[in-house]
Symmetry: C2
Subunit: 510 residues, 2 copies
């Protein structure tokens, strides 16, 4: 058996049956092996940033890793930004990077570069398989590492892929852990009984239905519950417990967290400033607030929350929140009416990939009582993640509609995603929040204390020429409409959610 | 003076007056400083891969560096593939990467990553400025390093950019070197006199008019002259000496170089196989052929060639080659008729950015007697370089028409280039060689010895759905036409070369 076949068998043996790829010459034996070893769905992308972002979206929704297949160092480079986001999301991914044959490296051929070093920046596990015999066991290790909530990068030299002498690795066995910081529970319960203000910060795997239910009990016991600023996946909508998210802006986030004597983080890092600003604090947590971590990582999050709720003497269940979904809006198309339109028409069970940037706060607020849905955000700040994540989520969940809420500037980073959505017939509706600007930067210019009376805004201007996203979508085979009023947007969304396959609506904001 | 202002003054003081950028929050003080320190042309791109590729095209044509301005590690990642190509082209670039404020790094904010490590993969010089006082001198060093023919990466923390206490660095002084391996000249001349077959391989800075003239003299003295496979910039066309390029395919390249006892490389590495193939040699040079290097790098290339020509007793001038430019083709649109159309209508002084892949050989052959032009190729094998290089070349040479000969699959990597061409009104004509496939991979599948009877070709298929490049171009404000016959292509090219500003022709090949 050649290395490529053993690799495929190892992946499939552990349930890794989807691969997002843009292969090149060094990956040809892997591609050919797809016929020898059936069962792997290979999803072609036009750019590696789409492949890695789609693997992120897939992993967030499936709860198990997809594989990628990338072409040497430059292919990894193209995928790096979305692997960075996946690392921050703690998404399981088995990232496979083809390399030159081992003996070819001495020639410093044009595509040669130091793949491992670049991969370490985004991967908690990196290895180069040195021989066909190593591929199977290495792949198993990569899957185990990925299942722990990380990007695992396996570098596959071309000759290791094509040479005989390989065998599949064992099934990736992971032992379910239950690691709860019981001392934290004791400390926090005691503090709560003493009347000290306690806050609970939910992130990561705490944001599913079970975690939210436990958190609602904890809230009923008198603890303030907050959600991390950029969650990888959060269940929300009508009937589900809803908690305030820590704001991106320090001016808002610091007051949000002020007055807490204890902040208990559950699968979330303590909130820090996204960027540094002259004279402003680097962390959002007050100096005299003690920060505790309830679990070391995600798998124990729900059990830990239930344990904490019990220790606090919380009621067995908390009442479900009520709220009505907004009416369909009419009139001018603004960030606010767009948000209400989305909330009004969002189908039950939808997956929302949100990279709306300056439109995010309105969208989140309006959809609090929308039909139940999952909400995926930009976890690492590297824009260009939304369209690929929507793509991968749709591959993982073919029976659920996907809505991609996407700012215009960042949409252009990985606009090639639309073609893969068309090729695969994915049920993704993309709404471009088209304000013809990098609007976030106009805000940030003043926040960092730079002069705002100059011509800098010219570098944030996307109106010269305006981007016609409907034309771009049609150019990649995705049916598209332009909406300039709330009524047009509602009609376009209705159509998009009714017809199968991908659609795009270019929502040109007033 | 704040760090950002000192940096701008240092760049401008050494003639670095163009910056390709997609900035973010950590770069806002640099952006604002553009008003305080006039003279820098900031060219906005929609994706960092466009910025770095444009800096490559600019540097190849201007012979001096452009700056980039990138947003932290993910911005660098997005620009990495084209910096890889620039490194292989030995293009001078001052690559500026914004980072978090120095004191903010401990917080591991979402966008934090190890920028220097990734930068080292593509940069011969890397430094992080630790204080405002260091920025000026560091920038001077970066420019000096870039002028030596390399990518120099300066990491600029946000507080170093915004804090006072900086001063401009000195003007970047470079001492012209003349480093010629005279022992190589002696050895080669002696071998040539003994009747041993000698070959000369031209690359890099040997491919300008003076170098070509000297090489023509050497050829007239009985030495075989060849050109490296993927030159950064080659002057060619009617009346200019033309030499055979070493072929990409080893099956062709090995016979090309067979029989030589000596290969003298002038600013070019010895030819190696682009990829490894089972059972095939890794280098294209025969084992019994001695490889010599005439110069350590580019600046001495022309003088070295002239010295070699003199030592060989070559004639003072070689006759200029003759040849007629092809007639305008008619009929079916094929790779061959497309090449003839280009050769027939190419304006004098044009710059051709060629990333035509399977269409490259025909295009090069047909344009040998076209109007004099410069020819820029994909130097590092990382596809998605052609459109950005065309963009940067047009910024560097506003009075010269630019033709971008671009394969369809690789066009999609950095298709965002078209918007910058429209925004800047650049005179770039893009011709998409649209064969609706990654055709090169269909070739490579068999060459690497993988099975070709399976479904692998499905992963090379770009016809499902077909890409409509005219729609994509219009979506970014670039006038576009689709051509399906040679006649339509000729008419579209005539129009594009007559009207100012960017145009695109989607040449759908039969």
């Amino acid at each position: 058996m050649i290395g490529a076949q053993a690799l495929l068998r190892t992946l499939l043996g552990s349930g890794v049956d989807t691969c997002f790829t843009n292969p090149g010459t060094s990956e040809m034996h892997f591609v050919a092996a797809l016929d020898d070893v059936p069962g792997m769905r290979a999803v072609l992308t036009l750019f590696e940033g789409v492949a890695t972002g789609a693997a992120d979206g897939y992993g967030r929704m499936a709860g198990r890793p997809a594989a990628t297949l990338l072409h040497l160092g430059p292919g990894l480079g193209n995928g790096l930004a979305n692997l960075h986001n996946a690392r921050r999301a703690r998404t399981p991914i088995v990232n496979i990077v083809g390399d030159h044959a081992v003996g070819h490296r001495v020639h410093d051929a044009p595509l040669h570069s130091d793949i491992e070093t670049v991969a370490r920046n985004v991967s908690q596990w990196v290895r180069t398989s040195g021989s066909p015999a190593e591929v199977g066991p290495d792949a198993t290790e990569a899957i185990v590492a990925a299942l722990g909530g990380s990007v695992a990068t396996l570098v596959l030299p071309a000759d290791v892929s094509w040479d005989e002498g390989a065998a599949p690795g064992p099934v990736a066995a992971t032992i379910p852990r239950l690691e709860i910081a019981t001392d934290v529970i004791d400390t926090v319960v005691a503090a709560h009984r003493r009347g000290e203000p306690v806050g609970l910060l939910l992130g990561g795997l705490a944001l599913g239905d079970d975690g939210l239910a436990a958190a609602a009990r904890i809230e009923a016991a008198g603890v303030r519950v907050l959600v991390e600023t950029f969650p990888a996946r959060m269940m929300r909508g009508a009937g589900r417990p809803a908690f305030e998210r820590v704001n991106y802006f320090g001016e808002v986030a610091v007051p949000q967290l002020a007055g807490l004597a204890h902040l208990v983080c559950c699968d979330a890092p303590a909130p820090v400033a996204f960027f540094a600003y002259p004279g402003r604090p680097g962390t959002h947590v007050a100096e005299d607030c003690a920060v505790h971590h309830l679990v070391p990582d995600g798998p124990s999050a729900v059990a830990a929350l239930e344990r904490l709720a019990d220790a606090l003497g919380a009621p067995a269940t908390a009442p479900a929140p009520t709220g009505a979904r907004p009416e369909r809006p009419s009139g001018a198309l603004t960030v606010e009416s767009l948000a209400r339109a989305v909330a009004a028409v969002l189908p039950e069970g939808a997956i929302v990939s949100e990279e709306a940037l300056t439109g995010a706060v309105s969208a989140e607020a309006a959809t609090r009582a929308a039909a139940p849905h999952d909400w995926l955000t930009l976890t690492g700040g590297a824009i260009g993640q939304g369209l690929p994540v929507a793509t991968g989520a749709a591959v993982a969940c073919p029976d659920r509609p996907v809505l991609s809420l996407q700012a215009d500037g960042s949409a252009m980073y990985t606009i090639q995603s639309l073609w893969t959505q068309a090729r695969e017939g994915l049920d993704v509706t993309t709404v471009i929040l088209n304000n013809r600007a990098y609007a976030i930067l106009a805000l940030e210019l003043g926040r960092v204390g730079a002069r705002t009376d100059g011509s800098a805004a010219d570098l944030f201007d996307l109106s010269r020429p305006p981007l016609d996203f409907a034309a771009l979508a049609r150019g990649m085979g995705v049916p598209a409409r332009t909406a300039t009023t709330a009524d047009e947007l509602v009609a376009a969304l209705d159509e998009a959610f009714t017809e199968p396959g991908p659609h795009l609506v270019d929502a040109v904001l007033a």
